[in-house]
């Protein structure tokens, strides 16, 4: 044993779970770094913070200038988001408020306090469901198809490989607005307008180019020897892909999933043009809330908050793979 406890470490200790072992300089530097990271994170999260606040504000609080930081929270935004309402005549409203309100639900009471009566559920939940189905399925399709295409491009002598790769990329070159009108006409003709199939097909095709390019890069990084080892170990190529390539491409797959999902999830222009009701997704729905009898900022904020959650969950679930992706290539393999 050294005389560590009396004298302390010979060299300044930079990282330790014991605070008293870390040299003051290293601790200060660590604190500075942490403060910078927190400041950046705060700055990035500011819009979400404002959005969350607005979701709990009343109509008048939401538009007040300067914005109120202290306010009485209300569920008005959420009530407006999830329900269709009708105005109640003021006399009837007084009467209802005066009577016992305990048999009314929370939502009904909130609606009544602003002089409204709930007439039925809004289409927000259905639209969110549409978004989930369309974005989810198209992401799965584009990642699965993209993975196999990328594998083939990476490992086989595909004739005209470079030209094909460029062709795949070129499908992404026209801005969405330019292609919506021809697509609209085609979709009308083929009966794909306002259908899940149509939207899933469209988003899959749109994400596929990204998926192929992204995944090819990741598969290129996986040394060929691993598969060759599996081949001589007695596995077929398809088994080698599933047992060897797939686990090692997980970082790339996670990144591709997130990119594809975010695109399909946020997509607005196509959804607005190519859907009307059955397959309409959340982004155009939230946007159209702007129009109906004054701007319901709190309802929009509440809707956006709900819209944010699924993507946040997916990224959270894939965080380990994504973080490994950040350090990809930094370690000698």
């Amino acid at each position: 044993m050294s005389d560590f406890y009396e004298v302390g470490p010979a060299e300044p200790v930079v990282i330790s779970t014991r605070v008293d072992k870390v040299s003051p300089k290293a601790r200060r530097e660590h604190n500075v770094r942490a403060a910078i990271v927190i400041a950046i994170a705060m700055f990035c999260l500011l819009p979400i913070f404002v959005m969350s606040m607005t979701a709990f504000k009343t109509r008048s609080d939401a538009v007040s200038a300067p914005p109120k930081l202290l306010f009485k929270p209300t569920l008005e935004g959420f009530v407006f988001l999830f329900t269709e309402r009708a105005l109640v005549p003021p006399a009837r409203a007084q009467e209802l408020l005066a009577s016992d309100t305990t048999d009314l639900s929370l939502f009904e009471r909130v609606a009544l306090s602003s002089g409204q009566e709930i007439t039925g559920p809004s289409d927000y939940v259905g639209r969110l469901k549409n978004s989930l189905i369309i974005a989810g399925v198209s992401t799965i399709f584009s990642v699965v198809l993209g993975f196999f295409a990328a594998y083939a491009f990476s490992r086989f002598d595909v004739p005209g490989k470079d030209d094909l790769m460029f062709f795949i990329l070129s499908t992404r070159m026209l801005p969405a607005v330019v292609v919506t009108i021809p697509l609209f006409l085609m979709y009308r003709q083929f009966g794909l307008h306002d259908t899940y199939q149509g939207m899933i097909l469209l988003y899959t095709v749109f994400n596929l180019s990204l998926a192929v390019w992204l995944l090819k890069g990741f598969i290129d990084e996986i040394p060929l020897e691993y598969e060759e080892a599996a081949l001589v170990d007695g596995y077929s190529r398809i088994q080698a892909i599933f047992k060897i390539v797939l686990p090692q491409a997980m970082t790339g797959i996670a990144a591709t999933v997130v990119f594809s999902l975010i695109f399909a999830w946020n997509e607005y222009a196509f959804a607005l043009m190519l859907t009307s009701d059955k397959a309409r997704t959340a982004p155009p729905t939230i946007a159209t809330m702007l129009g109906r009898g004054g701007i319901e900022w709190s309802a929009i904020a509440a809707g956006s908050l709900g819209f944010l959650i699924p993507v946040a969950i997916v990224v959270f679930l894939l965080r380990d793979y994504l973080l490994r992706g950040v350090t990809f290539g930094a370690v000698r393999r």
């Binding site: 020897e225 080892a229 599996a230 081949l231 001589v232 090692q248």
Partner: protein, 389 residues
């Protein structure tokens, strides 16, 4: 265990030969090294045997069965890669068990087989780790274990020690050799390191420029190179080769007044092979020269390398008239001998160690089989205890 036969096997990449048609038979239990500079086609040959590369022509027989078009997984051959190719997402144990799982073996049998090879290679303490945590030597041990566990017909190794540092390489070389002797498994080993090839193999296949230059035991390729490439490639430094002219009983060297007596057993073969100009190339190993004041060879010490156990002299026999390049031969001398740079010396060459090459084809001219004078004693190199008995 198995016999591997290559019949006129070739590989073309586009129009270019990666391996020119070659014949090779690797016997059951034999350790054969494919040795050559990088890009000579040795790895391609190995990959064709494994099935990772398809042959452009010819047939590959494994125990008499034509496997030329078999999938690698159907050949029952194990491959050890230079960079180990251990699956990074699996533990060491799973890596070793992986080939057995392909056969659909049940769990108990897998456990028995894994613990067997783990004992042989002494890697029991690292089974739970991922390969990334292990040192290079340990990773290669695991890779060997993964190859061994299947009890394949043959082992193919592609520079398995190439990524290790010098000291470890020597240890692992001894381990591979011990392993081969214990298992007596047919092994084909690719390396560019002649020390490795010499130390490990029963036979060496020297390759260069997509062609087999010579197939022979380590002693054969060292003492009796088939051509000038092998003469220069094997040994460090390689064989000394000098351009000369046959003049009666002596060989006269160009550009200086040196001569060497012609060993009797070479007289008739040389006279029948050489052109009218009698030009010939003489080769001898550095250790064949002896410093001797009465020697027929004379030169100036150009440089001296201390190798610890011996000194290597670079002797300039005289500048080439046209280019003024020195004509250097290497001589091995005692470490205590003093031959300062610039000093003159004379030396003789052991006639038993002299070799002759045809300057046109570069091929060795073989001595007469009937004339046994000056013949070097036949060296028996055996690696096993049984072999020496």
């Amino acid at each position: 265990m198995a016999q591997i036969e290559l019949k006129q096997v070739e590989k073309l990449f586009g129009e270019k030969y990666a391996v020119k048609p070659m014949d090779l038979t690797i016997n059951n239990g034999e350790f054969v090294c494919l040795l050559g500079p990088s890009g000579c086609g040795k790895t391609t040959t190995l990959r064709m045997i494994s099935g990772l590369e398809t042959a452009s022509g010819g047939t590959i027989l494994l125990d008499g069965e034509n496997v030329t078009w078999h999938h690698p997984s159907d050949r029952d051959i194990a491959f050890v890669f230079q960079l180990y190719a251990l699956y990074p997402h699996m533990t060491v144990r799973d890596n070793i068990a992986f080939p057995l799982q392909a056969e659909g073996m049940n769990k108990d049998d897998i456990d028995t087989r894994v613990s067997e090879v783990v004992d042989i290679l002494r890697i029991g303490h690292m089974l739970k780790y991922k390969p990334g945590k292990l040192s290079g030597g340990d990773q290669q041990r695991v890779a060997l274990a993964r190859a061994l566990v299947r009890r394949p017909k043959a082992f193919l190794m592609d520079e398995p020690l190439g990524a290790l540092d010098a000291e470890l390489r020597e240890t692992m070389r001894a381990e591979i050799k011990a392993l081969h002797i214990a298992q007596n498994a047919t092994t084909v080993y690719v390396t560019h390191d002649q020390v490795e090839a010499m130390a490990l193999s029963d036979r060496i296949v020297v390759m260069s420029a997509a062609e087999v230059q010579q197939v022979g035991t380590p002693a054969e390729v060292y003492y009796d190179p088939a051509n000038l490439f092998v003469a220069g490639f094997i040994g460090s430094p390689g064989m000394n080769v000098l351009k000369g002219q046959l003049d009666g009983d002596v060989v006269r060297f160009l550009g200086n007044n040196n001569t060497l007596p012609l060993p009797a057993r070479y007289r008739i073969p040389l006279l029948t092979t050489l052109d009218a100009d009698k030009n010939v190339i003489v080769g001898f190993r550095p250790e064949a020269g002896t410093i001797n004041a009465d020697g027929s060879m004379q030169g100036e010490v150009y440089a001296v390398d201390m190798h610890g156990a011996y000194k290597l002299l670079h002797v300039n026999l005289g500048d080439v008239p046209d280019t003024h390049e020195p004509t250097i031969v290497h001589l091995r001398t005692d470490r205590m001998a003093s031959n300062p740079m610039g000093s003159q010396l004379r030396f003789t060459v052991d006639p038993a160690m002299m070799r002759f090459f045809d300057p046109k084809s570069g091929k060795a001219i073989l001595p007469s089989q009937t004339d046994q004078t000056d013949r070097q004693p036949v060296e028996v190199l055996s690696t096993t205890a049984e072999g020496q008995a």
